[in-house]
Amino acid sequence: MRYFRHPGFLIGVILLTLLLIVAVAAPWIAPMSPLETDLANTLAPPSAAHLLGTDQFGRDVLSRLIWGTRISLQVAVAVMALSLSLGMVIGAVAGFFGGWVERVTVSIIDILLAFPGFLLALALVAARGSSLESVIIAVALAFTPRVAAVMRAVVLTIKPRTYVEASRAIGMGTMRLLFLHVVPNSLPPVIVVATVSAATAILAEAGLSFLGLGVQPPAPTWGNVIADGQSFLASNPLISLSAGICIAVMVVALNLLGDGLRDTLDPQMRRSSGRVL
């Protein structure tokens, strides 16, 4: 498999596979319940019973992180699926058909892009109430205009290519041109945007949870763990730090995966790819 000759891609895949296993197997590998409090043993340092110590309610930090992987992955996958499908359709239609459809769409995208994505998500969560679904919907809607803008730009570069015109000249219809030529050739840059947006979605979920607007405590999310540990950064830095490392690892893994996909999906880059991590 040519994909696995790309070291960055390989590392990304291994890390994400590990995270996926952790998420799926959480009930079995977590040493204890992420919600069980032990008020006699709060803010404990790492020990054999609690490898990463406990938080201010005596909950096992490692177990909370393991369960938190589930929520983070769920957010990443759902946001990516939602914003990709919406954004690609909107961008492709705007770029390929042009005319007033494009002018209206581009205006809307520009207006939405004028808001910082996190602010938009914040406003949407505030309007819908904080829950896992509203975090996903809010972050996905915040990213859709980005995907759509990239998709439209890419489609505009593909539309005038000779192979599109040549196919039109031998009788291919609009839908066939769209799905044979335009969409496959636009995938590499859009996939890169998608993985970056998945990584940013995880950050956004953590950020919203940290601010108390995301998934509500006591649910174990990485953002909640950071928020819980924030007051004890001086005495017990391991609580926030370990959650921060989890977030960083997942974001890096997604970015490596995105870069690897971009390099390997493009047949012209197949031989030159993979040197630089």
């Binding site: 000779t162 192979y163 031998i170 009788g171 219809g173 496959p184 050739n185 999906l265 047949p267």
Partner: protein, 357 residues
Amino acid sequence: MPNHPMPNLHPVAPAAPIAPATAPRPVALELRDLTTVFPGDDGPVTVIDGVSLAVRAGGTLAVVGESGSGKSMTFLSALGLVATPGRVRRGEVRIDGTDILHQPPERLRRLRGAVISMIFQDPLTALNPVFTIGEQIVEVLRAHQRIGRAAARARAIDLLARVQIPDPVRRVDDYPHQLSGGQRQRVLIAMAIALSPRILIADEPTTALDVTVQAQILDLLADLQAETGMALVLITHDLGLVAKYADDVAVMYAGRLVETGSMEEVFTRPRHPYTRALFRSIPRLDGPVDEELPAIEGQPPNVARLPPGCAFEPRCTVGRGRADCCTRRPLPLAGDRSGHRSACFHEDLPDRKEAAR
């Protein structure tokens, strides 16, 4: 190409034979008064102006002219492929006597590829880089026919063999970047003839290829034409290719037709001063070594600002400054019974020796 006795596959009486009647074959494609305009700053700009042409089944028509003279645009217009905001303002495109331009878009799409097909200048960019050549041929077939993937793939291999790609069973799974330029043009020809069209338009099919490959590609087109009896339109600015492969010639200048006729007629007795100048500007092996090659003075005109009279008048050694050439447009293509026609008031006058300004 010339002198291939072809059976009359499509016995339809030619409506108005414009090409010389050198062979009793029916007209496959006829353009009548085709006119294409693009919006400009000062109103619409006519980029194709009243072009009327005909190609016979099994015959080869060469369309020659400078870059920007409207050769390609004429046939993009004929296929209904003018990019917006351009549009065909007037005229008809008849295939076997039926006008195709005013058909609904979906019917016109089905005609493209199946009845009239086109290949382009640059084979390096005319294939989609992310699919194998086999997949791309399969898609052409599936755009027109109800055909299963396995059957379509078998057809694709047949087609690759027909365009003389060696080892087609293996090459069918190659990506475009694994093929040479000449092989890619063969693949594009395979796609264009996949549905046995009656007319193939080849828009400078060898300009991007080197000279040895050029001859192979044109010989391939000639062979395919001999097998199928399709009409071939060869858009080119290489007069050597015209002499070798064409039956008829049409010369274009500034979006207008200036001369048409059989290849022999036009080459031995060019009438329009532009055609004559074109032939003079070809280097000859037996010509004087120390003389400068005659070039046509001046620049091709901007079609947005054509002179009121003949478009060639400012560069013409015969008509420059003449009252009629400056004020009236020559009627398109008056000519004799042989079908050799040219659009010039003074085609009987000799070229003046003086250099143009």
